[in-house]
Amino acid sequence: MRRVDQNPLARLLVQRILLGLLSLLLVSIVVFAATQLLPGDAARAVVGRGAAQDRLDALRHQLHLDLPVVTQYWLWLRDFLTGDAGTSLVNGKPVIESVGARISNSFTLLILVVATGIPLAITLGIVAAVRRDRRVDTSLSVIALALAAIPEFVIGIGLIVLFATVVLHWLPPVSMVRPGASVFARPLMLILPVLTLIIAVFPYTFRMIRASMIDVLDSEYVEMATLKGLTRRRIVLLHALPNAIAPTIQAIALTCGYLAGGCVVVEYVFGFPGIGQGLVSAVIARDIPYIQCVVVLLAAFYVVVNLLADLVAILVTPKLRRAT
């Protein structure tokens, strides 16, 4: 409160954005440094153990491995930012080709989860808040608490047991699609991965909406509206609901951030040809350029959506706006 005239809001926003950029820079440094820990170097990994020395030297030169580490980092970062993420150690093709096809599949998954899971969680969150401490609320809250604890792969395998193998045989247990082919070729196979991720993101959004709606319903202006004799339905829809917009935007951003990590395990469970499954395969094959590319992309996505969530939170929360 010391220097309000200097616009603390703008300062806080700039501080957040700088912190986000710093995180991105650190992500790139960590990813680059991690590969430096590997025994041997990339050239040795490509040509194999028994290769001739001159061939090794030529490849080292080609991969800039004969330059100082800092220069290597800079060249790697520059190439990466201009869309050249190197070549896969497994199939020798540019990493970006394979990653690109997988990104669109993962993005489809993300859109479907956000488009169905968020409205569901918001609706139930509002219902729970309106019926606070009644049976609907307590059951939903306990369910959310329980679901929040279960690891994604356990949810996914549980759904496969229930709907695709042991109990019922309604849905395909794994996604039989070549990487690169459209996942819409077999829409049925999208159901279980999407359902798993909806269950995984539900508790968080549900609680956020419930908590913020309870705050609103306890507020003086809602009490005022009640005293004026407005119907409960009118109060919830016209006075309280608009306040759910900000937490909703935040929930979407944080859900996207969660999915940056959640896609890895869930795509692996269902063999879904997305970027997360690509990462697991690359980790198992130790395909370093591929791992670097996917980790940087997912981490950058995570940083950016979390930054957006923070910015929304700052813009809509008077307490935070005035803080610092």
Binding site: L19, P151, V166, Y204, V265, A313
Partner: protein, 291 residues
């Protein structure tokens, strides 16, 4: 303690205690009751339950029941170690930040913000792919993810306590700062930290089980629930038990620890269920939700 009566009155507390007792007994005394070795081949792969193997055989023809009974204590041990390490580091950082304040506070908290800005499972995959699936690495990674969140809780609690008269008094009579931290502040920030440790234990189990499931944690032929699920899911149609039982055990274990932490939290300070975080948090949301 006034905590116990309130704790025992809550249904979810009793329910979660019963759940956890069952799972803990399975993991801890289970190994002594295993009918066969977890590594011996006792028959054809994916046989259904029979008189010799109550839950049938797994992908390589080993006894499923024995592998389940022996496949739990390792993950509990790793999760406990990771939680203890992360909570300890978080308490030290958080108390230092909250008590010393000023530049130290700012530096510690901003650094932890940066750690929080990383997606956890992805960084875990990066390090495991470079260094290999060794237990100490997994404990360190998971502990590293916990420390920032615990530090936030410890710092917030410390900031509340340092304003109290007894801390002021201790400072006035010239008690050394380290002794104030240990004797005056630490006992009074224990309750929120116990709840936080419970939540952290739940995530530790989830994260480590996930890595094991991906084949990047415990390595075959060691029995482990997460790994068993992955090894045996190709045979689910023939013998579902080596998948179904570990899935249920992991689910019950994580639900149990989460409900228990929640019940303790509510018994201790009437925490509302809605205002409690249980997912990886971004830098500001804890402040937002608790504001």
């Amino acid at each position: 303690m006034t905590l116990w009566p309130r704790y025992l009155r809550s249904g979810s507390a009793i329910f979660s205690t019963v759940l956890l007792t069952i799972v803990f007994l399975t993991t801890i005394i289970g190994p002594f009751f295993a009918p066969a070795s977890s590594l011996d081949f006792i028959g054809a792969p994916f046989q259904g339950p029979n008189a010799h193997a109550w839950l049938g055989t797994d992908v390589l023809g080993r006894d499923v029941l024995s592998r389940i009974l022996q496949g739990g204590y390792r993950i509990l041990g790793l999760a406990a170690a990771a939680t203890a390490l992360g909570v300890l580091a978080g308490i030290l950082l958080g108390m230092a930040a909250g008590y010393i304040k000023g530049a130290v506070d700012e530096i510690i908290m901003r650094l932890l913000d940066v750690v929080l800005a990383f997606p956890q499972i992805i960084l875990a995959l990066l390090f495991v792919s470079i260094i290999g699936p060794v237990p100490w690495l997994i404990v360190l990674i998971v502990a590293g993810f916990h420390a920032p969140q615990v530090a936030r809780v410890a710092r917030a609690a410390t900031l509340r306590v340092v304003e109290e008269d007894y801390v002021r008094f201790a400072e006035t009579i010239g008690m050394p700062r380290l002794r104030i931290l240990v004797q005056e502040i630490f006992p009074n920030i224990m309750t929120p930290l116990i709840v936080e440790a419970g939540l952290r234990f739940t995530y530790s189990i989830a994260l480590i089980a996930g890595l094991n499931f991906l084949g990047l944690g415990t390595q075959p032929p060691i029995p482990d629930w997460g790994l068993m699920i992955n090894e045996n899911r190709i045979g689910m149609a023939t013998n579902p038990w080596p998948v179904v039982v570990p899935v249920l055990l992991i689910a019950l274990l994580t639900i149990g620890t989460n409900l228990l932490a929640d019940a303790i939290g509510r018994a201790a300070f009437g925490l509302d269920r809605g205002s409690r975080e249980t997912q990886p948090a971004s830098s500001d949301e804890t402040a937002t939700v608790q504001a």
